[in-house]
């Protein structure tokens, strides 16, 4: 039970961490995060991850084992967050249109067209 809770908290921790990163913030919420909010997200991430590790220590009382187990949990949680971000980013993409930040190369246009075909 505590193991699952640890995993979930870890997921939330990584989600907060991703919002503190400009690139992922833009994908999920649009726009760059203001400096103060970035610090806030990062603090929340650290707190959640620490809590998650504390719970892992409850499940595996030996410190060395707890560390290796928690790193495993972190891998799974981070993977879930990455998949979630991709889902959200894909939903947002059609609304935003072309990204101005990247130089639009002709292949990129073909790529988006091909993806549009697939989605349809």
């Amino acid at each position: 039970m505590q193991g699952w809770l640890s995993l979930i908290l870890c997921g939330f921790g990584f989600a907060a961490l991703s919002l503190a990163m400009p690139r992922h913030h833009e994908e999920v919420l649009g726009g760059k995060p203001p400096r103060r909010r970035r610090i806030l997200y990062r603090a929340a991430a650290i707190a959640l991850l620490a809590l998650s590790f504390a719970l892992a220590l409850q499940v595996w009382p030996n410190l060395t084992i707890a560390i290796s187990a928690w790193l495993g949990l972190a891998t799974v949680a981070a993977f879930a967050v990455a998949m979630l971000i991709r889902q959200i980013a894909e939903r947002r993409e059609p609304q935003r249109g072309k990204k101005p930040a990247r130089p639009a190369r002709p292949p990129a246009a073909v790529e988006t067209a091909a993806k549009g075909d697939k989605a349809a």
């Binding site: 990163m21 030996n62 084992i65 993806k115």
Partner: protein, 527 residues
């Protein structure tokens, strides 16, 4: 021409990764499956399925040992555990040196105590040994080869972190359906999300090979004198079996001593003397800093007087130097010797990430260069060679592993030829399929070969629960119903991997379809 630090690291990453990538993929895949080697071995021996364990298997085993081997000088009982629901016993006769495992192992039905005759199988043990000793090569040579591959892996990880330094900025990035870009994302993501695991498993793997790779660093301990002359023991006159103290209270005491780690093995020695003794061994080691020699349950022991049940002595975690402890911890971490089932899954997932990382790295090498030569009429020989070797060593190995599971169940239980035992036949099937897949990769157009091999792998994996039901007494539904989670989880994992392989096959097929008509403009130069 820039030849900065990152460029040279990129060069190093590319070429160490490519040269040993195929071997590393095989090491990663078989090693990852080996986290569940006792589960795999159990799945492969249907004679053991469908047992209904008794309330107290230890007492049952004792009763059966008294019937089977009343004259023995020592008994050994391995109890069913969550990873391998098998009750087995062994014994040795008076006058024989009581080995660690005693005489030949007899498997008992954990419910009725009947003797079971499971088939001979190479089981998960083969995959486990293959991942560090390969097969059919002299042991030292094979360990050198794998050791060098491990070193290359270590170099590839370190140079990779420098080369793909964007991985930390794009920590959670995966963009599918974009050709080479997606392969790179997948390579980066599987690398960075399990990076602590990759470093740990590679470094500890290197440390485990240290005796092979640097034989001169091993400082021999105090030289062992010549073995004391074996005392010639007159077999004592047969005496009636001593009445042993009940086991249950001793086991409870042991579990309390070991922080609730269950007892895994019971050894009863000196049965032919007036002072028999009972030794209890924990199921797993509860700390990482103890010696975890392959196959043993660590070194913790509790020794009891067999008649009164009094605790005689306790061998625990011997004091060791910090260096020795780190060495033992690395060994234990690599072998996950302390891991319960939940933790084992986490290691398994991280191992899969490593497998995917190596596989996508190999594919990436090809797709990067294919993009460069997309317009050329004749592709470089090296590119074609790597492209085709990738098929056999990635898809082909997956196919061989799936086929190995099938061989273990389809070969008749008594199958053996004049020169090969049953286990060797299973291994021959594994390598036969792998070799055929390698050849197939060179004969067919690459895109089609990928689809065919991945598709066949998917079919074999998805049908594994059916194979299990048809060739054994139990099946997935029954196993779930009875709580035989070991059997059920192998079946379920086969289904999940089958779906993944099917998805990969479908993906490669649609890619092949896109490439096939030559004048479709949809083929992106990036692919």
């Amino acid at each position: 021409m820039k030849t900065g630090f990152r460029q040279s690291m990129a060069w190093l990453h590319t070429w160490t990764g490519l040269l040993l990538g195929w071997l590393l993929f095989a090491i990663f895949l078989t090693g990852t499956i080996a986290y569940f080697r006792s589960e795999v071995t159990y799945w492969m021996r249907p004679e053991l399925h469908g047992q209904r364990p008794a309330e107290d298997p230890a007492a049952l085993a004792l009763k059966r040992l008294a019937e089977l081997a009343p004259e023995a000088s020592s008994w050994s009982i391995t109890l069913p555990d969550p990873r391998s629901p098998v009750l087995s016993v062994s014994w040795s006769k008076p006058g024989e040196a009581a080995g660690r495992r005693g005489g030949p192992v007899t498997v008992l039905d954990s419910g009725s105590g009947e003797i079971l005759h499971p088939r001979e199988t190479a089981g998960g043990e083969f995959l486990y040994r293959f991942h560090y000793e390969l097969y059919g090569l002299p042991r030292e040579l094979a360990r050198w080869i794998v050791g060098i591959a491990t070193m290359a892996m270590f170099i590839a990880i370190l140079s990779g972190v420098i080369t793909h330094k964007k991985i930390f900025k794009e920590f959670f990035t995966f963009r599918p359906g974009k050709g080479q870009r997606s392969w790179l994302d997948m390579h980066n993501m599987t690398a960075v999300l399990a990076l602590p695991y990759h470093i740990m498993i590679t470094f500890s793997g290197l440390v485990l090979f240290v005796a092979t790779l640097m034989p001169f660093v091993i400082e021999r301990g105090p030289a062992r004198g010549p073995a004391p002359p074996q005392e010639v023991v007159e077999p004592p006159p047969p005496r009636p079996l001593p009445v042993l103290t009940p086991l249950a209270p001793l086991m409870a005491q042991a579990e309390a001593t070991w922080d609730w780690m269950p007892v895994g093995r019971i050894q009863i020695g000196k049965l032919d003397t007036a002072a028999p003794e009972i030794v209890l061994v924990p199921l797993r080691q509860s700390v990482v800093t103890v010696q975890s020699g392959s196959g043993s349950n660590g070194v913790e022991r509790l020794r009891f007087d067999g008649l009164s049940g009094a605790l005689l002595d306790e061998t625990g975690r011997p004091g060791a130097s910090a260096v020795a402890k780190i060495n033992m911890a690395l060994g234990a971490l690599h072998r996950a010797r302390f891991a319960d089932t939940g933790l084992r899954w986490l290691f398994f997932i991280a191992g899969l990430a490593g497998t995917v990382m190596v596989g996508t790295g190999l594919v990436l090498w090809v797709s990067k260069r294919a993009a460069k030569h997309a317009k050329a009429a004749v592709k470089p020989v090296g590119l074609c060679l790597v492209d085709r070797l990738n098929i056999g060593s990635i898809a082909g190995l997956c196919l061989a592993c799936a086929g190995y599971f099938w061989a273990s169940r389809l070969l008749p239980a008594e199958a053996a030829t004049a020169s090969l035992g049953r286990a060797e036949l299973e291994i021959a099937a594994f390598f036969g399929i792998w070799a055929a897949a390698m050849l197939h990769g060179f004969l067919r157009p690459p895109a089609r070969a990928w689809t065919a091999q991945l598709g066949l792998t998917a079919a074999l994996l998805l049908l594994m629960p059916v194979l299990n039901a048809v060739t054994g007494p139990s099946n997935l539904a029954l196993a779930l119903w009875r709580g035989d989670m070991v059997l059920a989880s192998v079946d379920l994992m086969a289904l999940i991997s089958g779906l993944a392989a099917g998805y990969a096959a479908w993906h490669s097929r649609s890619k092949a379809a896109r490439i096939a008509p030559p004048r479709r403009p949809a083929t992106v130069p990036g692919e």
